[in-house]
Amino acid sequence: AQSVSQHNHHVILSEAASLELGCNYSYGGTVNLFWYVQYPGQHLQLLLKYFSGDPLVKGIKGFEAEFIKSKFSFNLRKPSVQWSDTAEYFCAVAGGGADGLTFGKGTHLIIQP
């Protein structure tokens, strides 16, 4: 069965700091990876995704993630965070029934102004 591990449950950064959130997955099939974000009071929304091709994928709001197959990782990065990036971030892999998603436990990111 597939699984997703997010290394940091709570991260606190100052504005303009660089961000990297770790995500490791376990899945034996074709990998489809996602990062979702939930801003306070809002829906869970797609940040970026990887299906195939260039392992460095770019998403909304300046986020990017790199798929490293040999490390089973899909870490999320942003070179300079903003206060508005405060949110819960979830890494996920598709592969359940009807390609249902398996999520990590999430990382609560707080950006201090």
Binding site: V4, Q6, H43, L44, L46, G96, G97, A98, G100, L101
Partner: protein, 113 residues
């Protein structure tokens, strides 16, 4: 454009009472539909998925059931709630076919007392 609705937004129910949570999707046809739950301290867990009217598959054994009476309606139910049913319930949809990106509703927060 597609939209997804869930209601109620918040629900407080006594142990042993029934439950009905509703999810509807607009602007698409024959979507795959999913129910997820996030319990305290845990990631989002896939509970049920449906690839068509009347077709329900369960991912984990539990006290809940799901139904899909119409193409764009997905209902989560229980005859008798348990304390352990408390959590945040999310409905999601995706287009049937190659794309695996799922789109999430606003969620229902359920507290069983």
């Amino acid at each position: 454009s597609q939209t997804i609705h869930q209601w109620p937004a918040t629900l407080v129910q006594p142990v042993g009472s029934p439950l009905s949570l509703e999810c509807t999707v607009e602007g698409t046809s024959n979507p795959n539909l999913y129910w997820y739950r996030q319990a305290a301290g845990r990631g989002l867990q896939l509970l049920f998925y449906s690839v068509g009217i009347g077709q329900i598959s369960s991912e984990v054994p539990q006290n809940l059931s799901a139904s899909r009476p119409q193409d764009r309606q997905f209902i989560l139910s229980s005859k008798k709630l348990l304390l352990s049913d408390s959590g945040f319930y999310l409905c999601a949809w995706r287009e049937a076919g190659a794309t695996k990106t799922q789109y999430f509703g606003p969620g229902t927060r359920l507290l069983v007392l």
